[in-house]
């Protein structure tokens, strides 16, 4: 502890240099925290998607659709708590450039499966009473200024209704809060029963089923039971957990991991070079001072640790600041990802990297300081 002032003085010997070095380390760890945080966060969000939710899609492809008659048969499978479904409506409001994530569903069952969706019970009751009713999330309602009781015309590029038109009129009967599930979660629901009646074609089909099960540990067994029901039928099914489906879709976007790691690698390499250079320079300039320390009786080992600790203090402080900055940016991402925090693993990785950085960049100059010969150093040789 008594060496603290000495280390402090060493760090601030050249203020501008230390500040600039520190700032670039802060920037690097800010970037590291953001990129790795989002990357890891994606993974955790996907992994934590409820394992007690299963998605049943057509085996051939999830866009192929399944008969609505499957609902009651799936519901009868042991271990199944609740069944709902989604039919993609391909909606848009006024102009095709304003797409609306609209789905036809069984709303009561859907809100029973997704407990994170917050809705007033009276809205759900109103939805059951109103055939042409729709439930919309608060973000969407605010964006288009839709209020309870509004009648809104929605265009669709797929479904023609029985009037021969592709504009459907709906009545807003309620809103709900889906912010816990993130911005990607669909926010516009119409009654499948009404849709099925009013569509000119494609009736009796849904895109996929969402199944809530009693016991997450039984996910695989229940999936197999559901798929076995329809094997060798014209519409074979494929049942997987919500998290497995999301992982599959995430994987299709491309190798995010690789890109993130490549960028972080480039940043850290650059940084390592910069910090090492600063430390080297600082030790070179202090040759005389270090020799004086040795003359005063500081052992070789002590001089080595002094320089190493200096490097460590620089890196650790700057890295902590960078990661903290990144963590404060995370709540801003809630509209996109839903509940989302800086994962602890990223903080741990950051700490490890900071240590590594401090050691690698500090070791060569520290060793040089250790090897200093007093007479030569004082003579300026």
């Amino acid at each position: 502890m008594k060496y603290l002032p000495l280390i402090w003085a060493g760090l601030w010997r050249k203020k501008a240099r230390t500040i600039f070095t520190m700032l670039s380390i802060v920037v690097a760890f800010l970037l590291f925290g953001l990129l790795q945080g989002i990357n890891q966060g994606f993974n955790t969000v996907v992994q934590n998607l409820d394992v007690d939710r299963l998605y049943v899609t057509a085996k051939t492809n999830l866009t192929d659709g399944l008969p609505i008659a499957y609902a009651s048969r799936i519901k009868a499978v042991p271990g199944v708590r609740q069944v709902s479904y989604w039919t993609y409506f391909a909606g848009y409001y006024q102009d095709s450039r304003n797409p609306i994530p609209a789905f036809a569903t069984d709303p009561v069952a859907l809100f029973d499966i997704y407990k994170d969706l917050k809705i007033k019970p009276e809205y759900l009751q109103a939805m059951q009473r109103t055939r042409t009713g729709v439930l919309i999330n608060e973000q969407l309602a605010a964006k288009y200024r839709w209020k309870l009781g509004d009648r809104i015309p929605l265009g669709t590029s797929i479904w023609t209704n029985k009037d021969g038109s592709n504009t459907w009129n709906f009545d807003v009967v309620g809103t709900f809060d889906s912010s816990d599930l993130g911005g990607g979660f669909p926010g516009f629901y119409l009654n499948q029963s009404y849709f099925d009646e009013a569509a000119a074609f494609g009736r009796g089909t849904v895109h996929y089923y969402i199944v809530a099960i009693d016991d997450p540990a039984q996910a695989t067994a229940v999936s197999q039971r559901i798929d076995a029901l329809f094997v060798n039928s014209a519409n074979e099914t494929r049942t997987q957990t919500e998290s497995a489906l999301a992982q599959m879709q995430l994987k299709q976007i491309g190798d995010i991991n690789f890109i993130v790691n490549a960028i972080v690698g480039a940043v850290l390499f650059t940084l390592l070079f910069l910090t090492a250079n600063t430390m080297m320079q600082s030790v070179r300039e202090r040759t005389g001072e270090l020799a004086v320390l040795k003359t005063l009786g500081f052992s070789d080992g002590k001089v080595l640790s002094l320089v190493l600790i200096e490097s460590l203090a620089l890196c650790a402080f700057a890295a902590a600041t960078g990661i903290a900055l990144a963590a404060t940016a995370f709540p801003l991402l809630k509209p996109i990802f839903g509940n989302f925090q800086m994962p602890g693993i990223v903080v741990a990785m950051g700490a490890g990297l900071a240590l590594l950085l401090a050691f690698i960049s500090g070791f060569a100059p520290a060793w040089r300081a250790r090897q200093l010969n007093i007479v030569d150093a004082l003579a300026g040789r």
């Binding site: 501008a16 240099r17 600039f20 070095t21 700032l23 670039s24 920037v27 690097a28 800010l30 970037l31 953001l34 990129l35 057509a58 051939t60 492809n61 999830l62 866009t63 192929d64 391909a90 848009y92 095709s96 450039r97 797409p99 265009g155 669709t156 590029s157 797929i158 479904w159 023609t160 592709n166 074609f201 014209a234 519409n235 599959m248 879709q249 994987k251 299709q252 976007i253 491309g254 190798d255 890109i259 490549a262 960028i263 480039a266 940043v267 390499f269 650059t270 940084l271 070079f273 910069l274 250079n277 600063t278 080297m280 320079q281």
Partner: protein, 395 residues
């Protein structure tokens, strides 16, 4: 004139002493190389994707979708509608007088990537009998064309290279049908090379879905567009959107290239800030190492401008070298690197090559020079403001 001579002399002298400051100078070069390499590599993704998608669009082709469709995947045209569209005026006709239009339908097929076996959704495109007349760039490079009414498909060159089970004679299952691969086609490197193609009626017959997604037609000339569009929009029996094919594909890639650009500029921007601090460090220490030299020159009567310029030129030169190294690294490692994604505006998995274009290299080097300029400016001003007497004494 005197100032110019001074600037020349001081700058040259300064540059000649650069090798003595190799270590600190390398900080600028490597720092900026990192920024530019990341920026250029990430932007190479959107450039490559854009190139592959726009390659699919020809000047004299139009795409007709159901009114309000954002893409082919979300479009549904009935049989009556497509008949009216195919017969519209403005469409080119072949020697036998048949209209050069292809009525198309889309499905997604689950396939596995070679290598890691990732499951991806690939577009199966059902096309009309005139497809080769409509898309003359499409060439069978292996095997033969599919025959209508039997379950045969041809696969794109990129699809064959990326997915499993794409060799002649292999079989692919979709709802209601098993298809045999009978040929491989190329299409000028366009996004169609990521697709599988079969006869539209056969595709629709297999799963008993009636509708079509789009009509692609070749016009008599690019100028016939308005005539064609007017004919369709004035027909009360039709509710369709007509676009030039190239514009359609540009629109499809808009969102994703915007996302990639934002990522590139945000990440690149943050890195650039870091690099500026590195550059400031380097240039401040360069100035302090030259303290004696600068003071001496000033005492001899050299002007402040010459000092400023000499420092700026050094910073710019180092930045330029860094930028060039970064761009070269990006080009070396990533140009032509094949990647696939389902994030594009098109429905199925899109395969494309990262493209480091001349324009991207220029962007990278401009960024490098701006970083160098900012990093050099403050130290340069310091060099100019040094009080001569104190500086001489300090050494």
């Amino acid at each position: 004139m005197k100032t110019f001579r001074q600037i020349g002399a001081v700058t040259l002298m300064n540059l000649r002493s650069l090798p003595q400051r190799l270590g600190t100078s390398a900080v600028i070069v490597i720092g900026i190389a990192g920024v530019v390499a990341v920026l250029v590599s990430v932007l190479a993704m959107s450039t490559g994707m854009l190139k592959t998608l726009t390659q699919a669009g020809a000047e004299d082709r139009v795409i007709v979708l159901r009114n309000g469709s954002a893409s082919e995947m979300g479009s549904n045209l009935g049989r009556d509608a497509v008949r009216l569209i195919v017969d519209a005026p403005g469409i080119k006709r072949d020697a036998e007088g048949r209209s050069l239009a292809s009525v198309e339908t889309l499905r997604l097929v689950n396939l596995f990537k070679q290598g890691d076996g990732t499951e991806v959704m690939v577009t199966l495109r059902g096309v009309g009998p005139q497809v080769l007349g409509v898309r003359p760039e499409m060439k069978i490079i292996e095997g033969r064309m599919f025959r209508p009414a039997v379950n045969e498909i041809i696969v794109g060159k990129a699809a064959k290279a990326q997915f499993r089970n794409m060799n002649l004679g292999d079989q692919i299952t979709t709802r209601g049908a098993t298809w045999t691969v009978v040929g491989v086609f190329s299409s000028d490197g366009s996004s169609h090379e990521s697709e599988l193609i079969a006869d539209a009626e056969t595709v629709n017959g297999a799963d008993q879905r009636g509708g079509f997604a789009s009509v692609i037609a070749r016009l008599e000339s690019p100028q016939a567009f308005q005539k064609f569009k007017d004919a369709l929009s004035s027909n009360p029996a039709l509710a369709v959107d007509v676009s030039r094919e190239r514009e359609y594909y540009e629109r499809q890639s808009e969102t994703i290239s915007k996302v990639i650009s934002v990522v590139a500029y945000v990440v690149g921007g943050i890195m650039a800030i870091g690099a500026i601090f590195g550059a400031l460090n380097t240039m401040y220490s360069a100035v302090s190492e030259r303290l004696r030299e600068i003071a001496t020159l000033r005492a001899l009567g050299f002007g402040a401008t010459a000092m400023v310029i000499s420092v700026l030129v050094e910073a710019l030169l180092l930045a330029f070298i860094g930028g060039a190294i970064g761009a070269a690294l990006a080009w070396l490692f990533f140009n032509g690197h094949v990647v696939g994604t389902t994030a594009g505006g098109v429905s199925g998995h899109l395969i494309f090559e990262l493209t480091v274009s001349a324009q991207l290299i220029t962007t990278g080097i401009v960024w490098a020079c701006v970083i160098g300029l900012i990093g050099g400016l403050f130290p340069a001003v310091r060099a100019a403001r040094l009080p001569v007497v104190e500086a001489l004494r300090a050494v």
